[in-house]
């Protein structure tokens, strides 16, 4: 019971809301029409706005904004003040009551509310407009038509529609967005400001001037034909427009006028009270029924409820005729119908009120009520109201327990709906009916009827809506009808004849084909033909298996394609493309894995034929050619003999290429290129490929290359010939490399590729084609890398000779490449190739020669590289020389192989001097001197080598002075220091010298002599002279210390000092003299500090005497040779040579 009451209340409220909503829509439509009129008049009469076109444009634009979003409110406001449109956005719902008020013509409508809200936000764009609210503006005569008495609820709809109808060709379309034409610049540009010009039309002046003025204005030729509404007198009072100061275009909006107490009263009394009354009525009715239910039987309850319902309906009908009670009457009518419907429903369905026990009768009565509602609703010409009524009617069929009645009664109901839809041009109405029909039918479930009956019923539905769609096409009707019909039909067939569904689909496909033919003259044939194609394809899938599906789809697609070509319908061809795609997908995804090639291949070949035929029929459809080529590739990929797919693809490529080349068809050539590209890929993936295949492939690729090279330019697109030449040669190179790979063992494959690179380089250099040149570089690099991997990494200098020769052979090939391409790529080929070649050569020599011979061999390589006198080779020469130098330390300096050491080191040493002479690189002087010094060490032993170093020192110093090379002098200084240090450290002795001729004296004398010789070779005043002299004298003192016993050491050193003095005078060598003097001083110190304590008496005396004599002698000598010391001019002595 509570549920029923709640339903009653809700339905009543819905009906009431629908009434109000309908009124809102109608008012909105009317106000839209008014707004367009005003905008139209403003667009035509810019000169009347006083501020010129730009100002008008802004003002109209601001107004238009409001009308676009909230048409009803904005339009109403636009009548009063043009700039209030923006403010209208938040007050839409109140607009309907304002609109009629503004017009002043609304028959019985509620007076406009005093608060017009919208005007408080947006500035008025028109300065001429008064600031009063819409209710104070006199209604423009052009937009307020007289209300026909026959249409009390929509009094302004028809006249407004006539105003905005096409005859007013300058008016914008009715959609909100279409109001933009009011704003655009052409209006402004084509209408220069003419403030004094008269208004072009009365309608244009309507919002601006008082109605009498408008009425007296003569219409302009460009104005729209005056409508009856425009000629109607304006009943409202004139606005005091000349008196009120016009606001600026961006002035603040006028303050919203307050709603008067009378307005409030009207609003509350006419609207709110009405709603409250209806609500209370329904509630009271339900309460009464609730009470009555407890007091009376079912019949009494039904009668009471029927009485109330009919009372409400009758009273509503009576009050509806009076305008001021119309809202009240609508509430009564809505509530009455709701109460009546649910009363009838309760008569059969609710136990407490059941007076009818036949479901069929109950359903018929409910349908009768619903029919009454529909008929009544038609009175209002409202799609919503009538739709609601139909909804109730369909709902009735939905809830009835009698299925046959339900599914059959829906036919006339739907037919009536379609009629109404067609009659009133309610386009969405039919769609609603369609949905309701199929939904009701679906909700009824399966009652076990025979298939033919069910399908006949569904066909009736389908035919009914299809026929309607043919008469009144709707975009959504056909797919919705197909969806409903097919869903229901398939469901029925699934339960009754699941294996024959294809027949259904085929039949429907034919039906839609007919539908498409019937729609051929219109533009709506695409959906049915699409359905035809889809359903036919589905039927094929359901009926056939494996390759026969593909065959059937191929035929269907081809038929569509041919039809598309014949009828010049791209859509059909696109459908065909889709079908071809499905067919190919099925062929590849389903048929291919399951079937043997023999079953699959004919279909694939048929595809190729059909595709190429399509390509021939219509040359623009080049993608068919590509598809055919792809199919050919697929066939070859699966059916190629001996899995030789790569070759098959390359051979296949020849066909399209020849066609494309002969007839200049670029798409065929592209197909050929793609097929050809598959060739090497197939060979690579199908490795090992037979070498004959690769050879043939290389020949084909090279033939294509030559074709590109020799053909005329017009046979290829721009850049195509170059690309073909490049790619063809690349393929040929790759395949040739593959052939080499096949024949040459992996150990020598790098060599093979490098040899092939040499051949390709020669071809490239000769221009057959030039692309081979760079490809040969890449191949050579690959080969070199492989040589490194296969030959260098595991190389050994022992074992079989073959692998040990490989690096040397690679070096020769690399040198050949470098020599042939020495001028290419800016010389970079020469640089890189020679670097690689030299590396290989050094490694090869290492592998081929014994360790002791490697250094000289590398040095010889360096020497030869230098001879070419090229920067790169010179750099390599330096690097190799350094390597040879370092190599000697690994295998050549052997103390036990004196002869071999000298034999292998000396030539390298000399080569470094020669390289220095040619390149002037100073480091060669140092490497050579280092080799000489080290050679001396290992040839002569640890201590005896000092003699060799000393001799070398003198030689270097002499050469340095002679050749004026300071590096040699520096080397001599270093050797002197080394010889001195070693002699002093070892006291000239080494155990390993015992058996030889050399002894400490020999070593000491040699080194000391060399040091003195070096002193004499040095400049008299230079530091080197001092350096050598000090070293020599010290070393002599050390030798004396080592060789002379302690008691005679002082004497020996004194003698040495005398000797130095004696030598210093004739040689004019101050250093010698000072050294002698210094040594004598040391002797004196030793005499007093050591000899006095440690020597015996006699040696001590002897020491003193001898030393004294020595000193005397020294004194004399100095006196005697004073002039020598001072020189001829009394200056300090100089070296004779210097003097």
């Amino acid at each position: 019971m509570e549920t029923f009451l709640l339903i009653v209340v809700l339905v009543g409220a819905v009906i009431r809301w629908v009434y109000v909503r309908q009124r809102l829509d109608e008012m909105g439509a009317r106000i839209d029409a008014l707004s367009r009129l005003v905008a139209q008049s403003q667009a035509r009469t810019p000169q009347t706005q006083g501020l010129g076109a730009p100002t008008q444009g802004l003002g109209v634009g601001g107004w238009g904004l409001g009308t676009e979003t909230h048409g009803p409110a904005a339009a109403t406001q636009g009548l009063g003040v043009g700039g209030w449109g923006l403010g209208a956005e938040t007050h839409g719902p109140t607009a309907p009551t304002q609109g009629p008020g503004a017009g002043g013509q609304g028959p019985g409508l509620v007076p406009p509310p005093p608060v017009a809200g919208p005007g408080t936000v947006a500035p008025p764009p028109k300065v001429e407009r008064p600031t009063q609210g819409p209710w104070t503006v006199p209604p423009p005569p052009v937009v307020v038509p007289p209300i026909p008495h026959t249409e009390p609820l929509v009094p302004v709809l028809q006249p407004a529609a006539s105003v905005s109808a096409p005859p007013t060709h300058t008016a914008p379309p009715p959609s909100p967005a279409a109001e933009a034409p009011v704003l655009p610049a052409p209006v402004l540009a084509s209408a220069p400001p003419q403030p004094t010009a008269p208004p072009p039309s009365p309608a244009a002046e309507a919002p601006v001037l008082p109605a009498p003025v408008l009425a007296s204005a003569s219409p302009q030729p460009t104005a729209p034909p005056p409508s009856p509404a425009a000629e109607a007198p304006a009943p409202g009072p004139r606005p005091p427009a000349p008196v009120l100061p016009p606001p600026g275009p961006f002035a603040s909006p006028a303050p919203a006028p307050r709603r008067s107490s009378a307005d409030w009263e009207a609003f509350v009394g006419g609207n709110l009270v009405n709603k409250a009354g209806v609500l209370l009525t329904v509630i009271g009715l339900t309460l009464f029924l609730g009470y009555a239910f407890t007091q009376t039987g079912p019949l009494g309850r039904v009668l009471m409820s029927l009485a109330v319902s009919l009372g409400m309906l009758i009273s509503g009908a009576v009050f509806e005729k009076r305008e001021k009670y119309r809202t009240f009457a609508q509430g009564l009518l809505g509530g009455g119908w709701a109460a009546l419907y649910f009363t009838v429903y309760a008569m059969q369905s609710i136990d407490a009120a059941r007076v009818i026990h036949s479901p069929l009768l109950g359903a018929i009565l409910l349908l009768a009520v619903a029919t009454g509602m529909i008929v009544h609703s038609l009175k209002y010409r409202s799609q919503t109201i009538t739709g609601l009524a139909y909804f109730i009617a369909f709902g009735t069929l939905g809830i009835t327990q009698v299925t046959p009645l339900s599914v059959l009664a829906v036919i006339p109901l739907s037919a009536s709906l379609l009629y109404v839809s067609q009659r009133f041009d309610w386009k969405n109405f039919a769609l609603f009916g369609l949905a309701a029909t199929y939904v009701i039918c679906a909700t009824r479930g399966d009652n076990g009827a025979p298939l033919w009956q069910v399908q006949a019923l569904f066909a009736t539905y389908w035919l009914m809506f299809e026929a309607f769609d043919l008469l009144r096409p709707h975009r959504a009707m056909l797919p919705a009808n197909a969806l409903g019909f097919l869903t229901l039909s398939i469901a029925a067939w699934l339960s009754r004849a699941p294996h024959q569904i294809w027949e259904l689909l085929a039949a429907v496909s034919i039906a839609y084909l007919a539908g498409a033919i019937l729609r051929a003259r219109s533009d709506l044939w695409r959906p049915p033909i699409t359905l035809t194609a889809a359903l036919a394809a589905a039927a094929i899938f359901l009926k056939l298996d494996y390759q026969w599906v593909a065959v059937a789809l191929l035929i269907e697609a081809e038929l569509f394609y041919l039809a598309g070509v014949r009828l010049n319908a791209p859509y059909l061809r696109n459908l065909a493309t889709g079908l071809f795609t499905i067919e190919l997908g099925h062929l590849i995804v389903r048929t291919l894995p399951d079937q043997t090639p023999r079953a699959w291949t004919p279909v694939a070949i048929a595809n190729v034929v059909v595709f190429y035929a399509n390509r021939a029929i219509r040359s623009a459809d080049i993608y068919y050619g590509y598809a055919a080529a792809a199919m050919m590739a697929l066939i070859a990929g699966f059916d190629a003999p001996h899995h030789d797919r790569g070759l098959a693809w390359m051979v296949l490529a020849a066909g399209p290429f020849l066609v494309g080349w002969r007839w200049r068809q670029v798409d065929f050539r592209i197909q050929a290129y793609c097929l050809a590209a598959l060739g090497p890929a197939g060979m690579a993936f199908g490795w090992p490929e037979p070498p004959l295949s690769m050879g043939i492939g290389a020949a084909i690729a090279y033939a294509a290359t030559l074709c590109a090279l020799r053909s005329k330019e017009d046979r290829f697109s721009a850049g195509e010939a170059d690309a073909l030449r490049g790619m063809g040669s690349l393929f040929a190179t790759c395949l040739a490399a593959g052939v080499v790979w096949h024949f040459v063992p992996l150990q020598y494959l790098g060599l093979g590729w490098m040899a092939l690179a040499v051949i390709l380089l020669e071809l490239g250099m000769r221009g057959w084609p030039e692309d081979f040149r760079r490809q040969s570089y890449a191949l050579a690099v690959l080969g070199a890398g492989l040589v490194v991997y296969s030959n260098l990494v595991p190389i050994s200098n022992a074992g079989p000779w073959g692998p040990r020769f490989a690096p040397a052979a690679a070096a020769l090939l690399a040198y050949a490449i470098a020599a042939r391409a020495r001028k290419e790529e800016g010389g970079r080929v020469l640089d890189i190739a020679t670097f690689i070649a030299t590396g290989f050569l050094l490694t090869g020599l290492w592998a081929l020669l014994p360790p002791v011979a490697v250094g000289p061999a590398w040095a010889a390589v360096a020497l030869v590289l230098m001879e070419f006198d090229l920067p790169t080779l010179t750099l390599e020469c330096h690097l190799v020389s350094i390597a040879a130098f370092a190599r000697l330390f690994f295998g050549n300096f052997d103390e036990e192989q004196h002869l071999m050491t000298a034999l292998t080191v000396v030539p390298v040493l000399l080569s470094h001097y020669f390289l220095w002479s040619h390149t002037k690189q100073r480091f060669y002087l140092y490497t050579a001197a280092t080799l000489a010094a080290v050679l001396a060490r290992f040839e002569m032993g640890r201590v005896l080598t000092t003699s060799g170093w000393a001799v070398l020192m003198v030689a270097l110093l002499y050469a340095g002075r002679r050749l004026r090379i300071r590096d040699l002098s520096w080397q001599s200084y270093a050797l002197a220091a080394m010889a001195f240090g070693r002699c002093w450290a070892a006291y000239f002795y080494s155990p390993d010298m015992f058996a030889g001729f050399a002894g400490p004296v020999f070593i000491g004398s040699t080194v000391i002599a060399c040091l003195y010789a070096a002193q004499l070779l040095s400049d008299l005043d230079g530091h080197p002279r001092l350096y050598f002299s000090v070293l020599a004298s010290l070393l002599l003192a050390v030798l004396l210390y080592d060789r002379v016993s302690g008691s005679l050491l002082t004497v020996a050193w004194g003698v040495e000092g005398i000797a130095l003095l004696c030598a210093g005078f004739p040689l004019h060598d101050r250093v010698l003299r000072l050294s002698g003097m210094g040594l004598l001083m040391v002797c004196i110190l030793k005499l007093f500090l050591w000899d006095l304590r440690h020597l015996d008496t006699l040696p001590r005396i002897l020491s003193f005497i001898v030393l004294g004599l020595i000193l005397v002698g020294v004194s004399w000598v100095y006196t005697r040779f004073r002039e020598v010391l001072l020189g001829p001019a009394g200056r300090p002595d100089t070296h004779p040579e210097a003097a």
Partner: protein, 268 residues
Amino acid sequence: MKRRLLFVLVLLMLIAATVVASLGSRRGEVSLASLRQLWSDTIRDIDQPGLRLTRLSAAEEMQLGANVLNSVSWPEDPVAAARVERIAQPMLPHVHRTDIQYHFHVVQAGMINAFALPGGQVLVTDGMLAFVQSDDELAEVVGHEMSHVDLRHCVEHYQYQYRLGSLVELFHRLAAMPYSSDQELDADAEGMRLAIAGGYNPAAGPVLFERMQKEMHESAGSPATTPAGELAHSLGEALASYFRSHPPSAERARRLRGLARSAHGAGG
């Protein structure tokens, strides 16, 4: 023209060297022994000034040697020591340092070894006495140890400790590692000189070390045949030789054989 001639000449020399070296019977060993030798020479030269400044007198050295000998207790064999002394007697007059008094000991250690302490303390193990097969071989051994004393190798290991402390000596030994092998070779050569001077057969030296190589299972190892192997072998060998106190017996035998050949040639 002259330059071209020089080029050809140098190139021919290089080629000739390559060919001759390739035709040589000995394959040659690849190592960094030459660099190690040069480095050893350098370190040895650098080490000399410090050793000269901290040199001990003969009396100090003999006292040091006695102290070291007394710090450990080896069971000695006086009878065998008498044999060693007898073998050494002919060589004593030919030592450089005549102010050193040599003492010879035979210790029962079982192993094949001989060593010397500063101040002329020469110790030979009973294992060595059993290993040598002739007086000539024993003379080589004793001469080798006497040479360590005569060439100051022994005392040099204690100089810094004696003068400056143990820590300095520790660093010095680390620094002197590279040439300790050279000192062994020097001692081999000087010992052979003493043996020859004492009237012993110099050919016994190489034979002794060859037999010792076999006894000690010293293998020469196979030469590397790849570039990386060569480099690794060279570096490894150089590193090992840096810390090796004694050169391989094979090398010592080879060098002694060369010295003996030279001595034989010089002697007529």
